[in-house]
Each structure stands twice: as structure tokens, then as C-alpha cells.
Symmetry: C2
């Protein structure tokens, strides 16, 4: 992971504006810019060898997140632009690590602005759900649901995301558990398959 | 005000998707669709006579809001599409009523997708702020700030809005207090003027 952090936390007693390029999925002057390379995705794809080959071939970017530093407090709102690149690892579509919230009872909203794909979701109890991403389609991730973005298209999948100020991230539990589904694309055909299947 | 409400509150233990037409500022199958006509804006514009003339001439729509029924609980997120039409009342630009939140310590995010204008903001103590709306520009309304959208352009001003589940609306205090600024457009020129000025 490469993470650039600049500037102080924004002053939250005063309104402020943020400028996005919504076509290219970029926040101008972000305070936190996280870039996840193939090498930061070890353990997430079924085909570990294919991932290592990709790392050796130049370690391409899987996704980027642009954020501002908002206090982690009830009543505030965190927001970001998430940009997941197109591509596959042994046929499995590029995706985000996925996370629960550190405060589990907090929702998240993803408004898809460009590209196509899926939001994979799961509860700690194993129940799963899946919503389609297309431009203009919003996904409501209710409290307690872990979630991961998957790009099944040929261009970047760009979403605007908002979640409660206090939510935080819990990547560790999802990393241990994985998701019940995996999404593959072979010869242009997208398939969502059970993670345990061969 | 015309308000259409359909269907039960969404089931919030299960993820769901919502489809928007982001170019026209429409939510497909909204559960709450609020339409504010000129006649529902009495008391908000400086020129009451000009407003009555507009009401008599067909009572045009000033703005529309498309929503889903989300439980008013901490951890959930309310969201809507807000569409403010272009036009003027005695030179004053079409705008929303504006509101505080019923739970004052809650923020709101507006992502402008189309059109142009301003977000006027104020604290109950009288301090004021103003942010520009343009496509791709997001406005962060911090906790405690009342806010009103003003359309200064020639096409609808469309924003995607998110706020904490528990926030609620307080229209009454803003209606009593008004905003410290008014926005006029005369001969194509936009001016933000103190509300008390002649």
C-alpha cells in the first residue's frame, strides 16, 4: 500500500468544498490518497501464482481511494471517491480488500458514477448479498455488512462513498473470513461463483 | 407542498440498490417524492408580490426531493436527490426552504452533479458561510449549520445528498430567522447581498 497524507485535518466548525473530477474519479487536493497495488492484495485472490506473476510484471494499481481527514465522531460524515481499475488475476476480477466497519452498526452508501461491477456483501454469520454497480446505481450497505467492490468492466469503476463519522474500518476480520462469492470474467463472460467451488 | 409517499420503509437488515437518472435528477421508484411549488415558498423571498404573481401564473415547481424511508437511527444514513429549478422571484434566485437538523450536531454532504448555484449556510448565532455549487463540487455542511440551496444557473441544479440517519429536519427555526444573505440574478449577473439590504 502507498498512502500519501498531506495537511492538517479540516476545520470542522466551518463549511468547506471539495472538487472532484467525477469522470476520472479524482479528488483534487485530497488529504489522504491510498493506492493499493497488486502486491497489497496477497491472500485475496484464489490464484496466488497469477497474482505473483502480476506483481512481477509491474505490480499494477488495483484501486485508489481519495479522502479528507474528518474527525471520527458521531454526527460527522466520512466520504471518499473509490476508483477500482479493470483487470483480472487468474480470471478473477480486480476488487478491493473489503472491510467491515470498526463500529459495526454503521451503514455505507456507494453511488456508482462510472463503470460496472458488483458490491459483494456479507454478514459475520455468513449470510451474503450482491448488488450490481452501474452508473447512477446506488448501493445501500446496511449496518453490520462487510463489503467489497468488484470491477467487471473494461474501464475504471468509480463510486462516491459516504459513511458515518465514527465508523472506522475493520479489514482484519474480512481478510480472515473472505467473502462467500468470487467474481470471474473469462472470454468476456462474468460469473459469480461460490468461493469454495473449484 | 405536494408529497407522495409509497410503499413500506425499506427492510434495513438487507442490502438494496437504488436507481437514479443523474442527468435529469430523478430517483426511480422513490418512497417519498416531495414537490415544493411557488405557493409553498411564501415568506422566503424578499418580494412577496412577485411570488404571488408567480403563484397566479401557474405556481411553478421550485424544487423536488426524492427519498427512501430509512429508519431515523444512529448508524443508518439518509440520502436523497435534490433538484432545484432555475428561475427568479423579483430577481431573487429560486431556492430551497433551507433547514437545520432536528438533531443539530449532524453534518450533511451535497455532491453537485449538474447545474450551478450556491449553498448558503448559517449558524443559529448568525455566523454565515457560502459554498459554490458546480458539477463535481461537494459541499460539507458541518454539524449545527443550517443550509439552503440556491440555483443561479439556467438548468436544474441537481445534488446527491447524504446525512446521518438520526438527523431529521428543523424547518421552523430557519423560517423564523431567515438567512443572512440573499442571491439575486439580474441581466445574467449573480449577486450575493446582505438580507437586510434594500
Amino acid at each position: 500500500m502507498t498512502e500519501h497524507t498531506t495537511g492538517p485535518s479540516v476545520k470542522l466548525d466551518t463549511p468547506f468544498g471539495v472538487d472532484y473530477d467525477l469522470v476520472h474519479g479524482i479528488m483534487k487536493n485530497p488529504q489522504v490518497h491510498t493506492i493499493r497495488l497488486a502486491s497489497s492484495m496477497r491472500g485475496h485472490y484464489r490464484d496466488a501464482k497469477a497474482l505473483e506473476a502480476l506483481v512481477a510484471q509491474g505490480d499494477p494499481v488495483h484501486y485508489e481511494v481519495f479522502e479528507m481527514k474528518i474527525p471520527q465522531e458521531v454526527g460527522q460524515l466520512q466520504f471518499c471517491i473509490s476508483k477500482t481499475y479493470p483487470g483480472t488475476v487468474g480470471g478473477e476480477c480486480f476488487m478491493t480488500k473489503g472491510h467491515y466497519h470498526a463500529v459495526p452498526g454503521t451503514a455505507e452508501i456507494y453511488l456508482c458514477l462510472r463503470g460496472e461491477g458488483y458490491m459483494l456483501m456479507k454478514l459475520p454469520t455468513g449470510e451474503s448479498a450482491c448488488e450490481r454497480f452501474l452508473p447512477g446505481r446506488m448501493c445501500y450497505v446496511p449496518p453490520f455488512w462487510g463489503h467489497r467492490t468488484v470491477n467487471t468492466g473494461d474501464e475504471p469503476l468509480i463510486s462516491f462513498c459516504v459513511y458515518p463519522g465514527e465508523a472506522g474500518h475493520n479489514y482484519a476480520d474480512i481478510e480472515k473470513e473472505g467473502f462467500p462469492q468470487r467474481v470471474f470474467k473469462r472470454a468476456g463472460k462474468v460469473e459469480i461463483v461460490p468461493a469454495k467451488a473449484g
